[in-house]
Amino acid sequence: MQLNRDQLERAYRQMKTIREFEERLHIEIGLGEIPGFTHLYAGQEACAVGVCEALTNEDYIVSTHRGHGHCIAKGCDVPGMMKEIYGKAGGLCDGKGGSMHIADLNKGMLGANGIVGGGPPLAVGAAIAARNAGNGRVAVAFGGDGSCNQGTVFEAMNMAVVLKAPVIFVFENNGYSEHTGVSYAVGSGDISARSAAFGMPAIKADGSDFFSVYEATCEAVERARNGGGPSSLEFAICRYYGHAEGEPQRYRGKGEVARLRETMDCLTHFRRKVGEAQLLSPERLDEIDVEVLELIESSVQGARTAPLPPAEALFTNVYNAY
């Protein structure tokens, strides 16, 4: 589980890419450039990247309405994502899915999902496929603290235990489901204990610390690959923006977001840790920052200038064959 230099650089690059992708979207949405509902992942980067760094390209993930981070962490093409979110031809889904349905099956990214709790049953299925193929793949079901109250999620956890399916249920606990606090909506308040009661190991970790996330995930992945069945991981993290863009966040504490950005920022943590351990130099990280910003800028330009999806796209892909 020792991370080499390449891995650390990739991890930082991905976290930074997610951050800048979302910061830029925040601006673009404000300018009215982006159609539809968009849920930004800014603040939660260490979670997506820590989890996906423990996976291979062949492993599966199912995502949520807040899916950009998971996409980038799983290696999806960033300019293609931007086009998708702009609803343009050449987007990851040819502009037909948008932010809430962004997917790339070739990367094992089985889709963002507009249905809270829609993903975990899919992950159980993908895990069964992996089990049957004996290919050692695992499936990760991302979800939020709010999703853990949805019946489908409980069903999926129980079924994964019953079938010993190599699934990892990741709960990103950012404290809110829309405008409701986790302390209100989650009976017992303890998501992990609920998972554990279905008969699977359940670990809690600091989701703003890439290394904690990565380690917890590696353990769960190893168990899953070795036939040990499902695990549950709960990561405490913070959401920097509103539930969806355009939402005034009046339910948040005074100065809460500023404080979180100040004290809990995963990029700052990462920089400090790799700096202290002399693993990556600030200069190298700064270089990456510049490259990331260039990528985001060119992605936005690419998306803006991309053509609209052709009219006939309305009618295609309903069936594979009729």
Binding site: G114, H179, P309, L314
Partner: protein, 336 residues
């Protein structure tokens, strides 16, 4: 009487009905907003602000947030209704009905029948419907045809602020389970709405335009399209009846059949996907019960048999619009 938005008309109705009857309760995801947060309750007042101010007036027991548990929300409404309350619950998007339809289909709608009478289940499921906001495939759908299919469920589709208030009041005061579909694109439209409470009887359509050449039946937001087309055609000397049935179950069959008997031509405009949707339902009604009055093929204007695409240009092509409806009416009139 004053000018109010569709949103405000609904909110006012909720306030007045809660005031009128202590048994009316409101719950759902984020209908208060802010539960369990530092900002505190009603920090937000409902995702689409339909329930704003209710908690402040009626308190914790009558207005409360729930976890994200659609089945339990609808089921709790049904159970509470059996036990004497009149719950008005919110399912944020009707697209989520695939998670909670059982509680409407097998429970609430059937109690009275299965139990041989005596079961009152006065509950309202408020929900949103309709495309046009680039909300993509899972947040834009029209599925009132499913619920219309269920015996025992009443299904309401207000197309304007006046109807929204009056139909909702009727739903809340009735004894049967109701699904009340609010069209997201209509929240901002305005119209005359009495300040006092009033009730629109369920099953009575609204003849929004009168004419003699064709009958246009349209649902929810489509009513506005139909009206606009009727107005434009009137300038060309073609006049249409436009019928807004307002409720798909019960349905004002009489109004539709009588109109077709006069005009001999039917155009149905509906936002459901075409197969087993409301357009074919109305067409089937007329083709079986007023066939001899029909002078031309029935014209159906619906989206195609595809999911709802995200890209705005595709979504626009997906939806019925004035041009499509006008073309359909002219075709029904043999190309006039």
């Amino acid at each position: 009487m004053s000018i109010k938005s569709y949103r405000d008309a609904i909110n006012e109705c909720l306030h007045q009905e809660m005031e009128r009857d202590v048994n009316v309760v409101v719950f759902g995801e984020d209908v208060v907003g802010g539960s369990g947060t530092e900002g505190g309750k009603e920090a937000i007042g409902g995702v689409f602000s339909l329930t704003a101010g209710l908690w402040g007036k009626y308190g914790d027991n009558r207005v409360f947030d729930t976890p994200i548990s659609e089945s339990a929300i609808v089921g709790a409404a049904a159970g509470a209704a059996l036990a004497g309350l009149r719950p008005v619950v919110e399912i944020m998007f009707s697209d989520f009905f695939g998670l909670c339809l059982d509680q409407m289909y097998n429970q609430a709608a059937k109690f009275n029948y299965m139990f041989g009478g005596g079961a009152k289940t006065p509950m309202v499921v408020r929900t949103t419907t309709g495309a046009g906001m680039s909300a993509a495939a899972q947040h834009s759908q029209s599925n009132y045809n499913w619920v219309t299919n269920i015996p025992g469920m009443k299904v309401l589709l207000p197309s304007n602020p006046y109807d929204a208030k009056g139909l909702l009041a009727a739903a809340i005061r009735g004894e049967d389970p109701v699904v009340f579909y609010e069209n997201k694109l209509l929240y901002g439209i305005k119209g005359e709405v009495p300040d006092d409470t009033y009730v629109i009887p369920l099953g009575k359509g609204n003849l929004t335009r009168q004419g003699k050449d064709a009958t246009i039946v349209a649902f929810s937001r489509m009513v506005h399209i139909a009206n606009a087309v009727a107005d434009r055609l009137a300038a060309d000397g073609i006049t249409c009846d436009v019928i807004d049935p307002r409720t798909t179950s019960p349905l004002d069959e009489e109004m539709i059949l009588e109109s077709v008997q006069e005009t001999g031509r039917l155009i149905v405009v509906d936002e459901c996907n075409p197969r087993c949707g409301l357009a074919r339902d109305i067409a089937g009604l007329v083709a079986s019960q007023a066939f001899e009055f029909l002078d031309a093929p029935i014209k159906l204007v619906t989206p195609p048999h595809t999911p709802i695409p995200f890209a705005p240009n595709l979504e626009h092509a997906y939806l019925p619009n004035e041009a499509k409806v006008e073309a359909a009416v002219r075709e029904a009139l043999g190309g006039r």
